[in-house]
């Protein structure tokens, strides 16, 4: 009873879904539970806008279900940057600073997303360095991957995420 806290928590289907995202794949069940406690649930209808290009970013969005389109305005023409499937995440640069969003996110079908607020992430970095480091490393890898893709394929729109 007293040492119950030493046992790892059971992985619920929701924790499994979080674990399947590359952002949280390195986390232990306990760490996933801590992160899950910080996430906010939102639901968007088809065609609803999650955030606009140029808007001040405050949070990262993890797609739990549905599909999301990321697009940006380039020389007056709207370019589709990516279409994300469940497990993908977007708005990740907002975890680093509050610079304006580089693209618009719009739901292609009814979506369920988990929102990770920047202040919660920074608080986590302050109080739980190991957990913060794991998420930061995953984030850095993700940004590095996008940079490599951009350099390799010459697709200028990929930095927009």
């Amino acid at each position: 009873m007293i040492f119950r806290f030493l046992k790892p928590p059971r992985m619920s289907p929701r924790l499994h879904r979080l674990k399947s995202s590359s952002l949280f794949s390195a986390l232990t069940p306990l760490e996933l539970k801590i992160v899950d406690g910080l996430l906010h649930e939102r639901r968007y209808l088809k065609d609803e806008i999650v955030f606009d290009e140029g808007e001040e970013g405050q949070a990262l969005y993890l797609l739990m279900s549905g599909r999301m389109r990321i697009s940006r305005l380039h020389e007056g023409v709207t370019q589709v940057v990516a279409e994300l499937e469940p497990g993908g995440f977007f708005g990740d640069l907002a975890l680093l600073d509050n610079s304006p969003r580089n693209a618009q996110a719009r739901a292609l079908e009814p979506c369920e997303v988990a929102v990770f607020f920047r202040a919660d992430f920074l608080g986590l970095m302050d109080t739980d360095a190991v957990l913060g480091y794991k998420i930061s490393l995953a984030l850095a890898r993700h940004i590095g991957l996008r940079l490599r893709e951009w350099m390799g394929t010459g697709r200028p729109q990929l930095e927009a995420l």
């Binding site: 801590i34 209808l45 606009d52 808007e55 405050q58 304006p100």
Partner: protein
């Protein structure tokens, strides 16, 4: 097609209309607080304790404890230690004492009165004009009138007042426990009520309100610790009894601007003059120490702790303290700044949200989408025209079956 960035982010700074609303809301809240003080004061103490205990509790949660168990452990440990410290402080006193607490209070009051009389006599000896004005006898008469009636007229009220407040103040530990256990859930509950278009800004607003309150209360606690230590050191140097306890009481009294500091000074002088009845220099020394600590507090400690916490213009701060005192007395003096800080954050953020045309347009669009989704098979115009609706076949089948049932 994306909108222009200027429209997306809206105006950044709050204008005069928003600021008028902020000041008006703060004044209104002060009046409400004054009426609901029995609830608000424990809430304030509960919030202060919540911010004190949040760090240890988060560490326990991250080491694997559930929120409930961590809140129970942290609260139990803290309140046990606080009760022990209080019992120790009350039992440990090296000052003069009588058999009962009433007699001890009387002893200290007599000590204070004697100090005032001695000081007035010294002043009369030095300035003959004061002797001609019969200053000592006038003050003496006022003291006698007040102290003779004190026990009959005021002591009972004070005791009843304290007894009324005790149950209310006992709410504070409960509030602390529930804030620790359910604080995150409550924050999520509030965020859930916000429409999608305003969600990110609302999260930021909640965070800023939390940070403002946290900065203020943490600053207040740091200030109290600094004041206590410096005052205790000064009183210990000049030889006043129980310097740490006196320092702590004076520092807590200083939470009330102006009035609290004077009350703390009077308390210290009474104790010093009772400790050394024949030596008024000790009481003068205590006044000197108090003034020195106040100066340090105003020019060094407060700018280092509270000054940085609220980011309010000094002129607005002073004006609001006066308005707070006028509207809600001592309570207003004490609470006007934290209230203004929180209302300022809420007002400024709501001001930018309400005046942001893009967010409003997105919200209208999302509402239209929801309405369309909710009424997808409820096209009344189509029904009137007799055109088939998406559920028309189903309805026809169901009416046919009910008709068949009726025929049977």
């Amino acid at each position: 097609m994306s909108p222009v960035p200027g429209i997306v982010n809206g105006p950044e700074r709050a204008g005069p209309v928003v600021w008028t609303g902020i000041v008006a809301a703060t004044c209104l809240l002060l009046l409400v607080v004054q009426q609901l003080l029995w609830l608000f004061l424990p809430f304030i103490f509960g919030t202060v304790l919540y911010y004190v205990l949040l760090g240890p509790m988060q560490r326990m949660v991250r080491s694997g404890f559930g929120r409930n168990a961590a809140a129970v452990w942290v609260c139990t440990l803290f309140f046990t230690l606080a009760a022990l410290a209080l019992a120790l402080a009350l039992s440990w006193s090296d000052g003069p004492e009588e058999d009962s607490w009433e007699a001890t209070i009387g002893l200290y009051l007599d000590g204070g009165v004697a100090f005032v009389r001695t000081s007035l006599a010294m002043l009369e000896a030095r300035f003959p004009i004061l002797a001609e004005m019969r200053l000592t006898s006038t003050v003496d008469m006022a003291f006698t009138t007040y102290t003779n009636d004190f026990a009959q007229n005021h002591l009972g009220d004070i005791v009843v007042g304290v007894m009324t407040w005790v149950p209310s103040l006992l709410l504070a530990p409960f509030l602390t426990f529930f804030l620790l256990r359910d604080g995150v859930r409550f924050k999520k509950f509030l965020a859930r009520a916000v429409p999608n278009a305003y969600f990110e800004r609302a999260l930021y607003l909640l965070h800023e309100v939390d940070q403002t309150a946290r900065r203020y209360f943490e600053g207040l606690l740091k200030l109290t610790v600094l004041d206590t230590l410096v005052l205790a050191l000064g009183l210990w140097v000049i030889g006043v009894s129980s310097p740490l306890l006196l320092g702590l009481i004076s520092a807590v009294l200083a939470w009330v601007p102006f009035v609290g500091s004077i009350a703390g000074c009077v308390l210290v002088v009474i104790v010093a003059s009772t400790d050394a009845p024949g030596n008024p220099l000790m009481a003068y020394g205590a006044i000197g120490v108090f003034v020195l600590v106040r100066l340090l507090d105003d020019f060094l400690f407060m700018p280092l702790t509270l000054g940085r916490s609220l980011h309010i213009h000094p002129l607005v701060t002073v004006l609001m303290i006066f308005i707070g005192g006028m509207l809600a007395g001592v309570v207003g003096l004490m609470l006007v700044l934290p209230l203004l800080g929180v209302v300022m954050v809420i007002g400024e953020t709501l001001g930018t949200l309400v005046t942001n045309p893009r967010l409003r347009a997105r919200h209208r669009y999302a509402r239209a989408l929801r309405t369309r989704q909710a009424s997808v098979d409820l096209d009344i115009a189509r029904e009137r025209r007799g055109a088939p609706t998406p559920n028309g076949a189903l309805n026809a089948a169901s009416s046919a079956s009910s008709g068949a049932t009726a025929e049977d």
